[in-house]
């Protein structure tokens, strides 16, 4: 790994820490496996054949590069109510156009290549809304490996289309009955399964969390988003953007967009946390409403009580419904390089509909949080300014949730 001095892109350190965050807080049984994964990842990073296979799959299977779309009607709509000369130009990074409909597949491709490299013969993953589960089941089908997806029983009930998709793809879906039966509990159960099957099983973690080296390698696989966006905006505008905006649950799409721009001082970076019913009520904004703690293998900001018991998150977006956040985000928050702003369920719901009507793009509810932040911020910036918003996924999966929230019976 290249350790550039004075770069915000050189982390984590050798022990997997981003400042005080990150690390390897796992049971001893898993520790040798985590170290083995790191050794294999380091070797893969040096291997041109690994990179070539990853790039080929992203191009020909995922459909990359994803377009950078100038959202002209959204831009004009916001300018109409802004002061004279205000209203930044909004571009959307179209991760929703990837195979399986979101950024998740980028990471799954990278990790299954690692699994193959390590000689692992079984794949497991956790999922909340089912997007990461579908992406994992997809790559497992492509590589012919048996796959088990752990999903909270509550999520299984409310995400039936994705459950069926995973089954069609050949995955076994385990409904997790412990705890609150959502994403956090699915991750606990995946870890329990992994610890009992370390000899042949590879755990494809879906976000930039978990024990080192997961936050690093997931980030690296997702950085294709920012690398592409950087080249695309230079081609379209001849300069870097003034701002990046992305939604943050665990934060893999966000870090993927942000990371290639971290050292560009002129680029302001905004992460959007799910504020649910508002920060005074039930929400999933770990940075705004949590404090540092240890869960699922890493130290990071967590929603928790004074005794360190983890509290339940809430967001209308199942993909943001997690009481933690990736450790690199906690660090970027603490050093002030990235500003994190909350967006509520209602704001996201309004932006979901607005983008659909103005641009003909149905965004995932996760992505709608970032759109809502852009709607808030763009009118305060001059017309000559440029914002790139990560449209991290498509919203087809969310139409039932949205219909329910709008009181529409399907």
């Amino acid at each position: 790994m290249t350790q550039l001095p004075n770069s915000l892109r050189s982390g984590p350190d050798a022990r997997g820490h981003f400042g005080q965050f990150g690390g390897r807080y796992v049971a001893e049984t898993l520790m040798p496996l985590i170290l083995d994964l790191e050794r294999h990842y380091r070797a893969a990073q040096q291997d041109n054949a690994f990179k070539a296979e990853f790039d080929d799959l992203l191009k020909n299977y995922v459909g990359r590069p994803s377009p950078l779309w100038f959202a002209e009607r959204l831009t004009e709509h916001l300018r109409a109510s802004a002061s004279e000369g205000f209203g930044a130009k909004i571009y959307l990074k179209r991760e929703d156009l990837n195979h399986t409909g979101a950024h998740k597949i980028n990471n799954c491709i990278g990790q299954i290549l690692l699994a193959k490299r390590m000689g692992k013969t079984k794949i497991i993953a956790e999922t909340g809304a089912g997007q990461h589960g579908v992406a994992t089941a997809t790559v497992a089908a492509l590589f012919g490996l048996p796959c088990t997806i752990f999903m909270g029983a509550v999520d299984v009930a409310r995400q039936q289309p994705n459950v069926f998709r995973m089954k069609l793809l050949g995955a076994e879906v385990v409904a997790v009955e412990s705890g609150a039966k959502t994403l956090k509990d699915a991750m606990n159960e995946a870890l329990r399964h992994w610890v009992a099957n370390v000899h042949d099983t590879f755990y494809i973690i879906g976000t930039v969390a978990g024990p080192h080296p997961y936050p690093e390698l997931v980030r690296d696989f997702q950085s294709v988003i920012g690398d592409e966006a950087r080249a695309q905006i230079l081609e379209a505008e001849g300069r870097l953007p003034d701002m990046l905006i992305a939604p943050v649950g665990g934060g893999s799409n966000a870090i993927g967009l942000f990371h290639p721009f971290l050292d560009d001082e002129g680029v302001e970076i905004v992460g959007v946390e799910a504020a649910g019913e508002g920060l005074d009520g039930k929400h999933a904004a770990s940075l705004a409403g949590g404090r540092p703690g240890i869960l699922h293998g890493n130290k990071t900001y967590l929603l928790q009580d004074e005794d360190g018991q983890i509290t339940e998150a809430h967001s209308i977006s199942a993909g943001l419904d997690y009481p933690g956040i990736g450790p690199e985000h906690s660090w970027l928050h603490e050093i002030g390089r990235v500003r994190y702003e909350p967006v509520t369920d209602d704001e996201a719901l309004a932006s979901f509909q607005k983008l659909t009507k103005l641009e003909g793009i149905i965004p995932a509810l996760e992505s709608a949080h970032a759109i809502a932040a852009a709607e808030r911020i763009a009118p305060t910036m001059g017309k000559d300014k440029i914002i790139i918003v990560n449209c991290s996924g498509r919203g087809d999966k969310d139409i039932f949730t949205v219909a329910d929230a709008l009181g529409v019976a399907l």
């Binding site: 022990r15 690390g23 390897r24 807080y25 796992v26 049971a27 001893e28 049984t29 898993l30 520790m31 040798p32 496996l33 412990s178 705890g179 956090k184 509990d185 991750m187 606990n188 870890l191 329990r192 610890v195 009992a196 370390v198 000899h199 703690g293 240890i294 869960l295 699922h296 293998g297 967590l302 928790q304 004074e306 005794d307 360190g308 018991q309 983890i310």
Partner: protein, 263 residues
Amino acid sequence: MTRFAATFAKPRPALVAFITAGDGDTAANLDALVAGGADVIELGMPFTDPMADGPAIQAANLRSLAKGTTTADIFDIASAFRQRHPDTPLVLMGYANPMTIRGPEWFAAECAKAGVDGVICVDIPSEEDAELGPALRAAGVDLIRLATPTTDAARLPDVLNGAGGFLYYVSVAGITGQQQAAQASIDEAVARLKAATDLPVAVGFGVRTPEQAAQIARVADGVVVGSAFIDIIAEHGDAAAPHVEAFTRTLADAIHSAKEIAA
């Protein structure tokens, strides 16, 4: 001499008994464990996300938390136990977040004040020792480390560095209360561990019957039993103590006499 040293100096293997704090009538169950012949007590600190535990202990964690058990309650239980049982080693076992959330120094000081002899933290491996180990050692509280079937010879010295009390051998790669390891693999592992450390070696995970416990006790310095007690408490609720004591006695008798029978 520490309570651990005194306990493991006895010429018989020890029964290490685990129950979850705040699940059932904990004070009565602790007394029952001691009365039944348990040599070391592990008191589980409930956590919302017990990812190394099987269904029995998961459920115990949730039952305890649902009753509103706090960290302060757990130290009250520990202090009261120490008053009633001055000689029985007491270990707190749990997860990193509740142990470190107020800072490791706070936790270590509370342990020392309550008369806790040792701490087992499931998700702080030796790589992250700085999170808790130095504070515990400075407060005179032993950090009990876990070795597992995946802990290889290259790694074992790191695991032992800074370890105290006894070494807990997790005999299966898995979660608590599930399958039991093959006895041959336990014999081999205990021999390997004892060659590497002077610490007593206690073996746990999946041990549910006096017969299993006796088999392990032939080679180990201690046998850890947890989920089997939790099942009794789950079944009998606040009236579990007599059942706990009776089961403890059958385990303790089997373990304490294992080496005599073997000889």
